[in-house]
């Protein structure tokens, strides 16, 4: 791949936040897609690459003795602090980056210029890797209770919903259409997850347009149909994931929540997860704490507390647990909604899926889950992740919170997940990087994948990097549903994500890398070990006869008794070289 160099600035300093002594001098290159800093130091070619699409904000600061400071905050939580020798140069870099990091149309996004060495057919295969229908079949759908509805084939009923949706067998097109008219953005109740074992389902929708007294027969019939599609249960839960006050306030705008009196056999429940604005501010506050120069323990803990971040994470997980219990333990179906049904609803449904179904704790399963509950159901990635220049009030780290919930669960259940932390962090980065087509746009209708590549296929191809060495499909922790503790002390600060680029603060030795190396070594041993055994077995009777001609051929090509057993121990990670590093260096 070629880079279009726009201009370069010499003698730029890259300052280290923690220790000024570790600052480096080099050349700053601005290309059409990346900012690249190349260290001058002879012999080492230390490069820092930052995609323009990852730039979150730029900040010019007052001139200092080392030059004109320019701070670049990135969406992957990297913070680059440059000092540029001349004011004009700083101005140029600032203006160019401002323009480059805020594309106005989709065509400008990196995924359309990202061209790894892959031919078009292969590229198309990348997209075929993900197949949501297969996941619904895995759940046992369609079946006698649930059918695939063509109602939204042309995005006519709901323009933010996917084309393929599962609805109760008894839901007729008039019921679907009627119900959709009574729901924000036409997002009528539809299936998110179905539990084969007990027929309980997780359904999702947006809020009803109930106002103070409005009702809709078709919507009531729709819920009735959902209830009836679970023959084992005589009631269902309707979970409004908003705080009650917010929901009440929505009634004044003609929206609101279900009145238990109008719907037969529903149990209505509020779960107070805050809205996108609260979450945005909360993460911002937490990031400020992460970026403090040398915080005291109190600064850090007070800052973490006042950001409220972990409280919000706990709220999302608590909601997921509520739904999990309803489905798995009570066998009761649940309808989940918030306002529009694409933020909190996506979080809660997907967290519940992770808790309920071991499949979603595998590498492939998590990708499928994100594809299902987030991408296909119209989580507004481009708005929430600020892919294009737009309304800053639409930006919110909703997906970050989902990934963090998964990470918190991994901390509690170290053997239950097939993937590792690196997997989550890589997904996080690429949700924001715009390098792949998966997350571009706000819903399926809008999404143009023409000419872009798929992250899922990339992750799958490189899956050995993302495997949790402690995972075993037959381990007891892997089976059935997870029952996490939600005591406050079980929630930890996710250093690996939010302080990812502060090298000094991470453990210097990684148990995971160590175990992975051991496992690789074991695999190598298993193989030649087996072959050696075979060889000796056949050797002994022959050695008596000493007929060299009859010596059997070994079972595998290239085998000679002298199996090479390198001192692999030395390859194991040592102090200082166990950091995980993700970069967007073009392949």
């Amino acid at each position: 791949m070629t880079l279009v160099l726009l201009f370069q600035v010499e003698n730029v300093k890259l300052l280290d936040r923690v220790s000024p002594r570790r600052s480096r001098v080099g050349t700053l290159y601005l290309t059409a897609t990346h900012t690249i800093f190349v260290e001058n130091e002879a012999g080492v070619r230390n490069e820092t690459w930052v995609l323009h699409s990852l730039v979150c904000s730029l900040e010019k600061q007052a001139a200092t003795s080392s030059g004109y400071p320019l701070l670049i905050h990135c969406k992957n939580f990297q913070v680059l602090h440059f000092a540029i020798p001349r004011e004009q140069e700083c101005q140029d870099v600032h203006l160019s980056l401002q323009r480059l990091s805020q594309p106005e149309s989709y065509e400008e996004l990196y995924c359309f210029s990202y061209k790894p060495n892959v031919d078009d057919e292969e590229r198309q295969n990348e997209w075929d890797f993900m197949n949501l229908k297969a996941d619904y079949s895995r759940m046992g759908l369609p079946n006698a209770h649930w059918k695939l509805s063509p109602a939204n084939r042309n995005y006519k009923v709901s323009d933010t919903y996917p084309a393929d949706l599962f609805v109760p067998e008894s839901a007729t097109p008039p019921v679907i259409v009627g119900s959709s008219k009574f729901r924000s953005r036409g997002r009528f109740p539809t299936l998110s997850y179905y539990s084969k074992e007990n027929h309980a389902a997780i359904c999702r929708s947006s809020q009803p347009l109930s106002g103070f007294s409005a009702r809709c027969l078709e919507d009531e019939q729709m819920l009735e149909a959902i209830l009836r599609s679970n023959p084992c249960s005589d009631f269902m839960y309707v979970v409004d994931t908003r705080p009650k006050l917010n929901a009440i306030a929505n009634r004044a705008a003609g929206k609101g929540y279900e009145n238990e009196d109008n719907y037969s056999n529903i149990k209505f429940q509020f779960i107070g997860i805050e809205n996108i604005h609260v979450m945005r501010n909360s993460q911002q506050k937490m990031l400020e704490v992460c970026e403090l120069r040398s915080p005291s323990m109190s600064d850090f803990l007070e800052g973490l507390e006042s950001s409220g971040w972990l409280k919000h994470i706990k709220a999302v997980l608590d909601a997921g647990i509520f739904i999990t219990k309803a489905v798995a333990e009570e066998g009761v179906s649940v309808l989940v909604h918030c306002s529009d049904g694409w933020d909190r609803t996506a979080q809660v449904c997907s967290v519940a899926c992770v808790l309920l179904d071991p499949y979603y704790r595998t590498l492939q399963g998590l990708m499928v889950l994100i594809e299902k509950d987030w991408i296909s159901f119209g989580h507004k990635f481009s708005h929430r992740c600020n892919h294009l220049v737009g309304d800053p009030k639409e930006v919110s780290p909703v997906i970050d919170q989902f990934l963090e919930c998964v990470w918190q669960l991994m901390e509690q259940f170290p053997c239950a997940f097939e993937f590792n932390e690196r997997f989550l962090i890589t997904i996080h980065s690429h949700i924001y990087s715009c390098q792949y087509g998966n997350f571009i746009g706000n819903n399926q209708r809008e999404r143009i994948q023409l000419g872009t590549h798929s992250l899922w296929s990339y992750l799958w191809t490189n899956r050995t990097d993302y495997i949790n060495p402690l995972y075993r499909p037959d381990h007891s922790q892997t089976q059935g549903l997870l029952r996490p503790s939600t005591a406050p002390y079980c929630f930890k600060f996710w250093r690996g994500l939010y302080n990812r680029f502060d090298q000094g603060i991470h453990p210097r030795q990684s148990v995971e890398d160590y175990l992975r190396t051991i496992q690789e070594e074991t695999q190598q041993l298993e193989d030649p070990g087996g072959r050696l055994h075979w060889w000796i077995h056949h050797q002994q009777p022959l050695s008596a006869k000493s007929t060299r001609q009859q010596r059997p051929h070994p079972p595998a090509p290239g085998l000679e008794p002298d199996v090479h057993l390198q001192p692999l121990q030395q390859q194991r990670p040592r102090v200082g070289d166990c950091r995980l590093e993700l970069s967007f260096t073009p392949q």
């Binding site: 323990m297 170290p414 051991i518």
Partner: protein
């Protein structure tokens, strides 16, 4: 003495025991002189065998004639005993109270305990100062082993043998002792083989308000400097606290009298503050409200993590002066028996790989804590649940272990021991069948004849099966200096101690087993392949025709 007098009711039937993560059991409660035992009557197995000395405090509750005793242990566990009958309950409670607060050391369990295992190596002789000195002698001839304190008269809290600069005679040491708090004249704590720099520790200088000076003291510590080199004095107190100490006869080394030394002040809190901190931390961990804000603010308010950060920072500073700056260091606070030892021992963990082995760590605890005169008996008399007003109690040693755990978390492959070793030392420092942590100094231990009358913890630990249990499967000898991060993001709550009884560790234990399994399986295969290779080599030598082409 007669424990029998204290035991009002030796035995009650129908007692129900509630414990964290284990099913409740009904059984017979028995009180002995040193133990509280509960055995379920069915199969006659003991369900609980608790040392009275492990009991920090008890609470009584009554509902009708059913009484409950809530037993709060020094290892932070809380158990509940439901006892039928008001009188029995009261009797049991008062007996436990009396038995768990015995003042006389010689009544402690270690004096009665007889080992059920064969002592292969007597731990009391495993770490003699003369042996440690032999190692030092192999590296340098600048130090000698002084017997000036052989009758504990120069410094009551020092051991009979201490390493001092070769050119300083005993007479000088006696004079210096009068100038240092508690007679704790500067002695060698650590010799850094790599560059010959040393770490010494002492009590504060007794300069008082009028700036008393002691030429011998200056001479002693200057004797450790190389020509033209400067050293660092790390005072674990803030400059204010150190200045205030002058009014009570203490003080600091003035620049005028110690021109070759640079003094750095750090802010490690003193013992009473630390005890308060432990109590608050444990209370926060036991808070059942499930409120995130409350948890974080209580955790913050306990200041425990702040202390961990302060201590580690100071230890890093000492290690840095030695390894990076190539300078010698003298560490002291006030008495030189608490914060000083935290710093000198942690600096050695950072600098010296041998301290990161199971045996090396014992040696470190022996040298820098037991023989260096940390008053274990006083500091560990009570733990976080104590109702009585703290006197000398302070979790100084626990904080040290916490700091070691933090480094272990950051360098999980560089320690021969696992977390359970640290937890074990915590438990035994507070309540034990072994005599190791009894007494407050070498002098007291000698007076109590502990080596003759009790079993050493090390005798038990250094047996094959225990070592195996405590070994870190990830260990690969790492000869480097290991620099821990002290950023707040890097310092974690030590769940293995503070949340041990609050949350189930089942999943984490399973992960540990899985990890062990992965490593064991690898070793097994390696052995198999190696033995096959040997067989093959043998076949080849027997039959030259079969040699590989």
């Amino acid at each position: 003495m007669e424990f029998a007098e204290l035991i009002k009711t030796p035995r009650v039937d129908g007692v129900v025991l509630h414990r964290p993560f284990l099913p409740t059991v009904e059984g017979t409660l028995c009180l002995t002189g040193h133990h509280l035992i509960l055995s379920s009557r069915q199969d006659n197995t003991e369900e609980l065998w608790l040392l009275h000395s492990n009991i920090d405090s008890i609470e009584k509750r009554f509902v009708g004639s059913l009484g409950s005793i809530i037993v709060k242990c020094k290892d932070l566990r809380v158990i509940q005993l439901d006892i039928p009958g008001m009188e029995e309950c009261l009797n049991i409670a008062s007996s436990i109270e009396a038995l768990s607060t015995l003042d006389s050391v010689s009544l402690m369990y270690p004096f009665f305990y007889r080992p059920m295992f064969e002592v292969i190596e007597d731990g009391w002789n495993s770490f003699l100062p003369e042996d440690a000195f032999k190692d030092l002698e192999s590296m340098t001839d600048e130090w000698r082993l002084s017997e000036v304190n052989k009758d504990f008269s120069v410094c009551p809290s020092y051991p009979p043998l201490v390493a001092v600069p070769k050119d300083i005679d005993d007479e000088t040491l006696r004079k210096v002792a009068t100038f240092r708090h508690g007679g704790r004249f500067p002695v060698l704590s650590y010799y850094h083989k790599k560059n010959g720099m040393v770490m010494m520790r002492a009590g504060q200088p007794l300069t008082g308000t009028n700036g008393r000076r002691c030429k011998e003291d200056e001479k002693l510590i200057n004797a450790t400097l190389r020509p033209g080199k400067r050293g660092y004095i790390i005072d674990t107190r803030t400059i204010n606290v150190a200045q205030q100490a002058k009014a009570r006869g203490g003080g600091i080394e003035s620049e005028a009298n110690y021109p070759q030394w640079r003094r750095i002040h750090k802010a490690i809190e003193r013992s009473n503050v630390l005890q308060e901190s432990l109590i608050k931390l444990v209370e926060a961990c036991n808070d059942q409200s499930h409120n995130m804000d409350r948890w974080l603010s209580k955790l913050e308010a306990s200041n425990w993590q702040t202390h961990v950060k302060e201590i580690l920072t100071t230890a890093c500073l000492a290690a840095q002066c030695i390894d990076r700056e190539g300078a010698s260091v003298l560490v002291h606070g006030t008495e030189g028996t608490d914060t000083t030892l935290q710093v000198t021992s942690l600096a050695q963990i950072i600098l010296d790989p041998s301290c990161r082995t199971i045996r090396g760590f014992q040696g470190l605890v022996e040298r820098e804590w037991l023989q260096a005169g940390h008053p274990f008996q006083q500091r560990c008399a009570q733990s976080a649940y104590s109702n009585s007003k703290p006197r000398q109690e302070a979790p100084v040693f626990l904080l040290f272990l916490d700091c070691v755990w933090q480094i272990l978390r950051q360098f999980p492959c560089s320690f021969e021991f696992s977390e359970s070793y640290l937890v074990l030392l915590f438990e035994h420092a507070y309540a034990s069948q072994f005599g190791t942590f009894l007494g407050n100094s070498a002098a007291e231990r000698a007076k109590l004849s502990l080596p003759e009358k009790t079993v050493s913890l090390w005798s038990w630990v250094n047996r094959h099966q225990e070592i195996e249990r405590l070994t870190n499967p990830l260990f690969e000898a790492n000869s480097l200096v290991i620099w821990p991060s002290v950023a707040p993001q890097s310092l974690l709550l030590w769940e293995g101690v503070f949340l041990r009884w609050n949350r189930s560790s089942k999943c984490l234990d399973e992960a540990y087993e899985e990890m062990v399994h992965i490593i064991e399986y690898n070793k097994e295969l390696q052995n198999k392949v190696n033995s096959l290779r040997r067989q093959l080599a043998q076949l080849e030598t027997e039959d030259p025709l079969l040699q590989t082409p």
